[in-house]
């Protein structure tokens, strides 16, 4: 077995073409043991393709992919034994009961009779499936089904866990529970997960890899990425004033680049203020309101999220909003 210091995933110059369409183009990255890495990108960015190649479901067109020091094509079975993979949409047999299914999967992954029972009970506990062990998978709710998928990925104690869009289709409560489960896996396991929801990755991962049209744009920790955007946040203010005086006053505000006004009730205006990079508009705006005698009832700085990072690194060619939850 490779020593702990060596990266568990090493991808070098990976390219995958489907006919004339290039899904993944010259991608290189590596993942150290114990990391939780989020692959992030809009639909069609190549996340699933990379995961399918890593889990030996399909072959790369060119490039080398190694998991725990083994080539995914040359030593496919050894690699598969080390990976717990949950595909997109979590396909599972619906005509089996939960415990039955997990035992079956454990046996399929090479565990012995006793061990498969022991592990099945363990992951049932770990993934909170205790109350549905005898239920038919087809009758389970989406949240429970997703947990069964995760339990299946964990059952043979793999070194690497690959989860393709693990929280898709879950309600907010289920997402929170699932996120906690995943965060609990870090350290002991290495987790590679994909999502097109920025917030999701930001919450769970220790490192983010942003993909766009089959290429890696950025790879860094969520904190560093947000720090890159430090300062210059948009400010939202709710002010009661006459429109002409408001517009004239705001024009005098130092560092303001753009201003959007939306009328609210009782003569209030919601102002979306975009500053020059590095400028905090709030003190200036407060002083202006006092001088002008405006009533100021809200003043908020919007902190940068990965969404802004994404829009920045893709050069503004961000995906359509609805794709981002």
């Amino acid at each position: 077995m490779a020593d702990d210091a060596s990266p568990i995933i090493e991808v070098e110059h990976l390219t995958k073409r489907f006919g004339r369409h290039t899904a993944v183009s010259d991608v290189s990255f590596s993942v150290a043991r114990g990391e939780i890495v989020g692959l992030l990108g809009p639909n069609g960015a190549g996340k699933s393709t990379i995961m399918r190649i890593l889990s030996c479901f399909m072959a790369a067109t060119s490039g080398s992919v190694r998991v725990a020091g083994r080539d995914v094509m040359g030593e496919s079975r050894a690699v598969r034994r080390r990976i717990g993979y949950m595909p997109e949409n979590n396909p599972i047999y619906t005509d089996l009961r939960v415990r039955e299914y997990l035992k079956f999967r454990a046996r399929l992954k090479g565990l012995g009779f006793r061990q498969s029972r022991r592990r099945a009970d363990f992951v049932i506990e770990q993934c909170g499936l205790a109350e549905v062990t005898r239920q038919m998978i087809g009758t389970l709710s989406k949240g429970y089904r997703q947990r069964v998928g995760l339990a299946d990925a964990l059952i043979h104690e793999p070194e690497l866990i690959i989860l393709d869009e693990p929280t898709i289709g879950l309600d907010p409560h289920q997402i929170r529970a699932f996120r906690q489960l995943i965060r609990g896996l870090g350290g002991a396991h290495t987790v590679l997960l994909s999502s097109h929801i920025l917030h999701e990755v930001e919450m769970t991962s220790t490192r983010v890899v942003i993909l766009h049209t089959g290429r890696i744009l950025v790879s860094d920790t969520p904190e560093t990425l947000r720090a890159r955007m430090a300062g210059g946040g948009q400010v939202t203010a709710e002010i009661q004033a006459a429109q002409p005086s408001l517009e004239a006053g705001l024009r005098r505000l130092p560092g303001l680049v753009e201003c959007e006004l939306h009328p609210l009730e009782d003569g209030f205006w919601q102002c979306q203020l975009t500053p020059r990079p590095g400028v905090d508009l709030r003190p200036g705006l407060y002083r202006l309101a006092v001088d002008e005698g405006w009533v100021l009832r809200e003043l908020a700085l919007r902190r940068h999220s990965l969404e802004d990072v994404f829009v920045q690194v893709t050069g503004g060619v961000g995906p359509e909003r609805e794709g981002w939850e």
Partner: protein
């Protein structure tokens, strides 16, 4: 081997936990019953010199069951997994492609054997109801059984290949039915050739499943037949494994 056994149990469970499995068994039992009744009625009229087993295969029921039931049995093996996406979870397990194909094939074969079991009951009924000894010999009955198994082995292998090729169960069933029907109809190619002797007539008779079955019901177990069915089954299974492997390279 252990993994293969686990897979086999799962596949067989797939047949026996679903309604389709029981529908197939019921339909086949019904057809067998009707065929058996017709044979019995033929005996009732006047005394026939033909043995019971020989008469049975000449009814259309045997061929009907072989041609229709085998595509229905095998259509789900791969096509359903492709369709539901479970193919991906299956293929990313540390299991060899050949093991998966063989497990699915073996499960289909075991189910096929289960499906024919009512035939034994038919024989038992005749055996019991005949006064003064058996109305048929056990050896030809056994060789008929062997013939049924061999033909089934080939047809199920064709079905496996058809199912591996597509993600639609209907397409898989139609494809394997077409292959099976073609092979069956070759039996009648000889009649089309007329009295001409020569290699074509030889080939036609080598391929003729009806002739093969005639041998089997008479108790003749010819090694050429064994080689024919076993090698063709092997070929189709080999092709299935290759199709499954090829999916990885798509």
């Amino acid at each position: 081997m252990r993994v293969w056994h686990t897979l086999l149990r799962r596949e067989l469970g797939g047949y026996l936990l679903s309604l389709t499995g029981y529908v197939i068994i019921t339909a086949v039992a019904f057809l067998l019953g009707v065929g058996f009744t017709l044979v019995m009625l033929a005996y009732n009229g006047d005394s026939l010199t033909v043995p019971l087993t020989e008469l049975f295969h000449s009814t259309l029921f045997f061929w009907l069951i072989l041609l229709v039931a085998t595509p229905v049995i095998t259509m789900r093996s791969f096509a359903q997994e492709h369709f539901s996406g479970t193919y991906e979870t299956l293929m990313t397990c540390p299991v060899g492609d050949a093991q998966i194909v063989l497990a699915k094939y073996a499960a289909a074969f075991v189910f096929y054997v289960l499906m024919w079991l009512p035939l034994l009951a038919c024989l038992q009924v005749v055996h019991r109801q005949t006064a003064g000894g058996a109305p048929f010999d056990w050896w030809p009955a056994a060789s008929t059984g062997l013939g049924i198994l061999l033909m089934g082995a080939l047809y199920l292998a064709m079905g496996c290949l058809a199912s591996a090729l597509t993600r639609s169960q209907i397409v898989a069933a139609i494809l394997s039915f077409a292959m099976g029907l073609t092979l069956f109809l070759l039996s009648f190619a000889k009649a089309g050739l007329g009295a001409r002797a020569g290699w074509m007539a030889d080939a036609a008779s080598y391929l003729s499943m009806v002739e093969h079955m005639e041998d089997f019901v008479r108790g003749v177990v010819d090694t050429r037949r064994l080689v024919f069915y076993l090698s063709l089954s092997g070929l189709f299974l080999f092709l299935s494994v290759k199709v499954v492997e090829a999916r990885r390279w798509k």
